[in-house]
Symmetry: D2
Subunit: 151 residues, 4 copies
């Protein structure tokens, strides 16, 4: 950690509340396993119904986890009235996502008033080993004063 | 279309067979709606259980569709014994993915023996309008002779 | 062209004036060969002093041209008092950049108040043929009211 | 460093020899300031003729340095008869590249037989401070047996 100071004391509550409204996270069974200023971790147990044609977790799910972890890492440092949107991201898939579970770790590289840049790493846990299987570089945006858009 | 000539007459059958083995596609309800040489389209009806915190289709699902369309666009031009893997992609999210359905169109930009570069566009259909909501640039890889890896 | 309407009648003059202040463009000998609303083209004659170890134009120069074309395509649609900055880009290098000259074509995919997304294509001209050698997807940002930052 | 073991004892000589053939590096005045297995650093003194319209080092030059550092970081781990090519990269520009000099540090994230993924960080040195101004995620490829392509 680079010791980011959140603008809002209640950053963890805001992140957890917003995450709980992401229905996709419930649909795939993802859990928020760490929330710190500028750093968020999401964990997913392996599920056969999330696989691609070779039986690995689909790259899209891997990206979903890393993108969400990056988005909330950025959001944890934003003002209380801001909403976070993903502008874009790029992901490299390094190894098949297999094992018992996946852990996505999103970290803020550089926070900004409008644009926050984050990196995301995705690890697969298998037989006690933790292996880096994907890495992401993402651009998040803080949106304010847009009606109906919170969190 | 740039008039790509497939290496394998049965490219459509191979793409459809591989797609049918992607359990995630069934889980989210995505359908293969077009298979041509170097061009593949996937369609998803809007579903509330795939949304993020603002009620839009989650960016991860948008990316999943575009990535899969790009992967099969590349695969349609590969040799019969090849498997396709996503090396990496980058996606820009342009507008919230809302509406009745999403259409992901993947096209080969440049095919290659090892590396194939594709572009993907994601459209949202709403009230008869078709709007570009995301755009992707992806790198796919042809894998051969890797045991157990087909399609 | 998608028929973008510039906010500022003098968009071409603004683009040309800003380009003329880019000393790197003079250093490498790049010329602005087309300026339209949301579309800008930059041309570079092949020069041996811009090559990498295999004698091709260095990927960094290819990216420089495409990035600059994308930036000015975005800038052509911005308000008169805005400055343009590159947030990020991703480039795929498809073929060696060889030949008599390189042409970078930047086009706006989607303009926005803050964020504008562009695509860039780089072509090599050789013996009368025009070949796509690189493709870019870029995110540009409009900056206003920042002291000393114009163009 | 993650303790990568080079395939070739003479990796440093190969990197330095290849770098010396990059005429662009001489043209812009870039120097190879560190070569370790999987990690390469390139340094550039600020030069006014490499600037963009606001007087900062052009993003294209920043990318050139980071791309080259990543490419040689990958190359340092490749077989003696391999050549390295950039497949693609994505760069986020975090802050204006100003100061006395720029340092690009390229590191291998994951080496592979065909594909090597690298990260690159670009720092600006100014008045004794070292500031991260750009970050890159890059895909490099090892090419063998292609006539005339070495280094």
């Amino acid at each position: 950690m680079q010791g980011f100071v959140p603008q809002d004391d209640k950053y963890e509550m805001r992140v957890r509340e917003s995450f709980s409204r992401q229905k996709l996270m419930q649909t795939i069974g993802a859990a928020l396993t760490k929330v710190m200023p500028g750093e968020v971790e999401i964990t997913l147990e392996f599920r056969d119904d999330l696989t691609q044609q070779h039986g690995f977790i689909h790259a899209g799910i891997a990206a979903t986890l890393a993108d969400t972890a990056c988005g909330y890492a950025a959001y944890s440092l934003m003002a209380p009235d801001a909403a976070v949107l993903t502008v874009e991201y790029k992901i490299n898939l390094l190894s098949p996502a297999t094992g018992e579970s996946l852990i996505a770790l999103g970290k803020v590289t550089r926070p900004g008033r409008t644009i926050t840049v984050c990196s995301g790493d995705l690890f697969a846990l298998k037989d006690g080993d933790k292996k880096l299987v994907a890495t992401m570089l993402a651009t998040m945006m803080s949106i304010r004063d847009r009606e109906g858009l919170v969190g």
